[in-house]
Amino acid sequence: MPPRDRGQRRPHGPPGQDANEQLPWAIVYYKTPDGTVPVLEFLDDCPGTVDAQFTAVLDAVAAAPPPRFSGGGKWEAMHGTMGGWYEIRLTGPGREQLRLFCLLENGTSDELAKRGLPRPAIAVITGMRKPWRTVFSERDYQRVRELGREHQQNYPRRIAT
């Protein structure tokens, strides 16, 4: 990837979306074919304060989407087999590690319209938790990716409303 290293931060999104750049991105929750919403099940199971922190991070990112938002120490672009994904990383009671896995929905107005999205969005796909100093398995990540693939195959997107 060529460096984009000179001058001010680049505005997000493709050209021709100036109107969208004034608006916070939408935040949408993926819904499975059977109607469940993994991220809502996850958040509802989190302590309220953790839920509040996840929400605050999502709102901050939506207000200044990548690359404008530095991450604030909580939002991270993933790499390797999870390239293209973003995660929100929080520590809960007992140092439990809690993660939300997100995809960015951006593109031209036409592309967004095909997805049923009125403006660019952060699609929150699912969440996972693990004890401190443990790692998620590749199988865990594979499940996340499968949900993401299912989400991205839908035109329009299937989201919780």
Partner: protein, 149 residues
């Protein structure tokens, strides 16, 4: 109209048609209601504990982001590339690039301080005034860290 948390939300669903240069309808799509997150947040914010946790997290995020943004602005104003800045602090270019592009989850304070120094700036911890503490419902230990040129 539904009401959540005292805020009225217009739930919308409407049809958008894009027209090609030849005047043909190219895309017809039903727009989705994307307001669930906001409605859920507004409902949860009625819980004082939830609201306090949300506001504290928002302040912390804003402070961290502001420091990094200020450093990046200083760097850009001085016409220094990220790679050059990394060289000046004897760091790998990728670590500096990650810092400025949301690819590093926990910015290291020593790196932040080194970057500020290389950019002719310094970090300061500024206690909030009592009035500001009250305004932010702080617990008496909040500090504001700022990069100043």
């Amino acid at each position: 109209m539904p009401s959540d948390g005292g805020v009225l939300h217009r739930r919308y669903s409407y049809r958008v048609t894009c027209v090609t240069l030849r005047g043909e309808a190219a895309v017809t799509s039903q727009m989705l209601d994307v307001s669930l997150h906001e409605r859920r947040r507004d409902r949860r914010m009625q819980d004082p504990q939830y609201r306090a946790a949300y506001e504290q997290a928002a302040r912390e995020l804003a402070q961290t982001d502001a420091v990094i943004q200020q450093l990046d602005s200083l760097r850009a104003d001085m016409g220094i590339s990220k790679a050059e800045l990394a060289r000046r602090v004897n760091r790998n270019a990728s670590s500096v690039r990650r810092l400025f592009t949301a690819s590093q989850v926990r910015p290291e304070l020593p790196l932040i301080a080194a970057l500020a120094d290389a950019l002719g700036a310094e970090l300061r911890v500024i206690p909030l005034t009592a009035e500001a503490r009250r305004a932010t419902r702080a617990h008496g230990r909040h500090r504001r860290v700022a990069a100043t040129g």
